[in-house]
């Protein structure tokens, strides 16, 4: 029963990640997807995997996404902005 609910929530958050067109919104959706994946892994009796997924899916990968998006918005060259 719990596994069914978590699987349906995972389908919803996965669809949310794929259909969020703006990258900053997609980062939040990725964090939520990582959290639901962690809960699903705990329900499937895999605590080691849940350990790795909660750190990677909610902290490390969204932070890398945010750093890349921030550095893409800044233009570090002195000759100005390029489209």
């Amino acid at each position: 029963m719990l596994i069914d609910v978590l699987l349906l929530m995972l389908a919803v958050t996965g669809t949310g990640v794929a259909l969020s067109r703006q990258p900053v919104r997609q980062v939040i959706a990725l964090g939520a997807n990582g959290l639901v994946l962690t809960l699903l892994f705990m329900a499937l009796q895999a605590p080691d995997v849940a350990f790795a997924q909660i750190v990677v899916g909610t902290a490390a990968v969204p932070m890398l996404f945010l750093a890349v998006l921030a550095s893409m918005k800044m233009d570090r060259r002195p000759e100005g902005r390029r489209e």
Binding site: R21, Q26, V56, V61, V68
Partner: protein
Amino acid sequence: MTVGWLPWVVAAWLFGIGLYGIVTSRHYVHLIGCLAVVQSATYVLLLSIGYRHGAGPPFFHPKPPGTPAVDAVVQVLVLTDIVVGATVTALLLALVQQLQRRRGVVDPQQAAPLR
């Protein structure tokens, strides 16, 4: 009681929706996020193969060895895959960022092939 075919359908759905996001993507970083969804579909499939009703995790600290446990081999595969997949995602993000620096392109449907 858990439905017998739901994990396979959810894994197939995640794979399909992630692939659709990759095909119709307008921003390279969004494309990499959809790739993460496709990866999570494989994790769900592998761990659902190893699950057994009424069994515990493959640890024997308070319980004596011999109690039923889920399959530990698929957990090993998924565990290393999660950590290594994160670093490969970082490599893809570095490629996208350098592409934007040098060519000013963030849209996959407007990127000209390299000559």
